[in-house]
């Protein structure tokens, strides 16, 4: 978009025009090395995966895989465990995305206000962002650990020992999902903050100054100046965060492996078990496709929102 708005050269140089056909062939030559692997190992498997959802494919089976039409879908529709995990996936994705966005927005506004603190924020942001998800999970298991963890000890120090005494947050039926959601929020905060911070840098300062001259308070300035300018990027980051969270796997796999009693079994964990513990490839692919349905709706909202954002400019 930036390039599109940059002034174009009025006329293409004649030499360039003459060289066109050769150069376009060259373009293909440059594109193919990346395009072929993408087609073979990314687009191809995706289409194959969609196809598998309509078959009874299983791992290590001797008979040929058969086309079963919508059988997997009707099975899935009646699979109460899947609906449980679907519901948990939605709670998790909302539960992580919304606080993540609000906290990140607050933090971004604060940091934008005080430029001197930005280096500190960047330094802190590195930690969750750069860590392997597996390590984030392990780290929080240490924090949540009933005896050796710092959470229960802190609660004891605060005199809240009733809440924290020896409690195993990750194995409690009621506490497991909230506990993993906290980790999810923590893990994704920096990325969201940095993105929003960059969005804030696009907010025209003159507008802000004009608004304060007119006597607009902080909240009014945020609503009338900052938010309209930030909206497209806020929408984009929220939609993508929601999708990533809905699809997440490693973090919860390490924290609880879906337990206790399936209370944190996100759809991806369920599909993984179905495919690679029970070998039900076809059925697991169907689950993947059902997840795509949810994601597509969100992606559509995101794209529509982004187009609208572009029109506003």
């Amino acid at each position: 978009m930036t390039l599109a708005t940059a002034p174009r050269r009025p006329t293409a140089p004649a030499a360039d025009r003459a060289a066109r056909p050769r150069r376009d062939l060259g373009a293909w030559f440059l594109v193919l090395p990346a395009l072929l692997p993408i087609l073979v190992l990314s687009v191809g498997p995706l289409l194959y995966g969609i196809g598998l959802a309509f078959t009874d494919a299983q791992s290590g089976r001797t008979q040929a895989t058969r086309f079963v039409g919508l059988l997997n879908f009707s099975d899935l529709f009646q699979d109460s465990l899947f609906w449980d995990s679907f519901r948990i996936g939605l709670i998790w994705a909302f539960g992580v995305t919304v606080p993540q966005f609000l906290l990140a927005l607050g933090l971004a506004l604060l940091l934008h206000l005080d430029l001197r603190l930005r280096w500190l924020a960047r330094a802190l942001a590195i930690i969750p962002w750069a860590m392997p998800e597996v390590v984030v999970g392990i780290m929080w298991r240490l924090v949540y650990h009933p005896d050796a963890g710092i959470l229960n000890e802190t609660l004891r120090d605060l005199g809240l020992s009733g809440a924290g005494d020896g409690r195993d947050w990750l194995s409690g039926l009621a506490t497991a999902l909230p506990a993993v959601i906290v980790v999810g929020v923590w893990a994704g905060m920096p990325q969201t903050t940095v993105t929003l911070l960059a969005g804030l840098q696009n907010v025209p300062r003159e507008l802000h100054e004009a608004a304060s001259m007119d006597g607009a308070g902080a909240w009014r300035r945020f609503r009338t100046v900052t938010w309209p300018a930030l909206r497209p990027i806020a929408l984009a980051v929220t939609a993508l965060n929601f999708i990533w969270n809905f699809n997440s796997f490693a973090l919860v796999f390490v924290l609880t492996d879906g337990g206790p009693g399936g209370r944190t079994r996100l759809p991806m964990l369920f599909a993984y078990e179905e495919a690679f513990r029970y070998g039900q490839f076809g059925y697991a692919a169907t689950m993947g496709l059902a997840m795509v349905a949810v994601i597509s709706v969100l992606l559509a909202l995101y794209l529509v929102g982004r187009l609208k954002g572009d029109d506003d400019r």
Binding site: A19, A27, A34, M131, I138, A148, N247, G288
Partner: protein
């Protein structure tokens, strides 16, 4: 934000007596390196680190080699292909991996590349291409077109122009993208979990989960020590390129 990390740090240096104590403390009273020694004794950490290093370095290098020319074209030519490619970048980030991993598993099995480092590297290359393209396209756009046009006037083709004019100016962006691809592969868990079965081939994140044990009963000290070691390379690299990453990703996210 840093408190959980400080706790990891603290746990890694605690002797067993302090870990079993009723009132855990932030600063170990008798800090020890025993946990690190034990971690290496309990699991094949050195081999796992070697595997991770190999997979991350090779896949980052290949991804850059493949992506740079395409990113150049995407940045300079606006047509259906470049729009489709940009769309694919978004879509590929949005798919649940399970839909891709099952077919990939079957395809790689057909090629006898399941439980193979080569198979994993192939997956990592393709997997890191979208964001490599995304970041590099942004970097190419920041190179003034006029320089390339001057080269074209002198009769240089696209490849010549790319190699002799654009690439040198792109070098910092290429390095940043490569390191980001490295970190992503170093941290990756899901593909490695599914595709690698032999313990001697597994990467660091997969081996780390072996410390957790079957019932979630874990030897906390060595677990923390191993987790800390696995994090250090990506933390260090990320600290180096962090400024460029956020810049590059934003260039892609905001401007494309």
């Amino acid at each position: 934000m840093a408190f959980p990390f400080l706790w990891l740090l603290s746990t890694a240096f605690k002797p067993p007596r302090e870990l079993a104590g009723l009132h855990p403390t932030w600063i170990p009273e008798a800090p020890t390196l025993d946990n690190f020694r034990q971690a290496f004794a309990q699991q094949p950490l050195a081999a796992a680190a070697g595997n991770s290093l190999l997979a991350a370095a090779v896949s980052a290098l290949l991804a850059i080699l493949l992506a740079t020319p395409m990113a150049y074209v995407l940045a300079r030519v606006r047509n259906r292909l470049s729009r489709a490619a940009t769309g694919w970048v978004v879509i590929s980030q949005a798919f649940p991996l399970v839909l891709v991993i099952i077919p990939l598993f079957l395809i790689l099995k057909g090629l006898h590349l399941v439980d193979s480092r080569i198979g994993l590297i192939m997956v990592y290359v393709v997997w890191s291409l979208p964001f490599a393209l995304w970041m590099l396209t942004g970097y190419v756009r920041s190179v003034p077109r006029e320089l390339e046009e001057a080269a074209a006037m002198d009769g240089a083709g696209r490849l010549r122009t790319l190699v002799s004019v654009t690439a040198p100016l792109l070098a910092p962006g290429i390095v940043a993208t490569a390191l980001f691809a490295f970190i992503t592969a170093w941290n990756e868990f899901f593909f490695a979990l599914v595709l690698l079965k032999s313990p001697e081939k597994q990467t660091l994140p997969v081996v780390l989960t072996h410390f957790l044990g079957a019932e979630g009963v874990a030897d906390l000290g060595p677990l923390a020590a191993a987790a800390l070691l696995a994090t250090l390379p990506s933390l260090l690299l990320f600290a180096v390129i962090q400024r460029r990453i956020t810049g590059g990703m934003l260039a892609g996210a905001v401007k494309s």
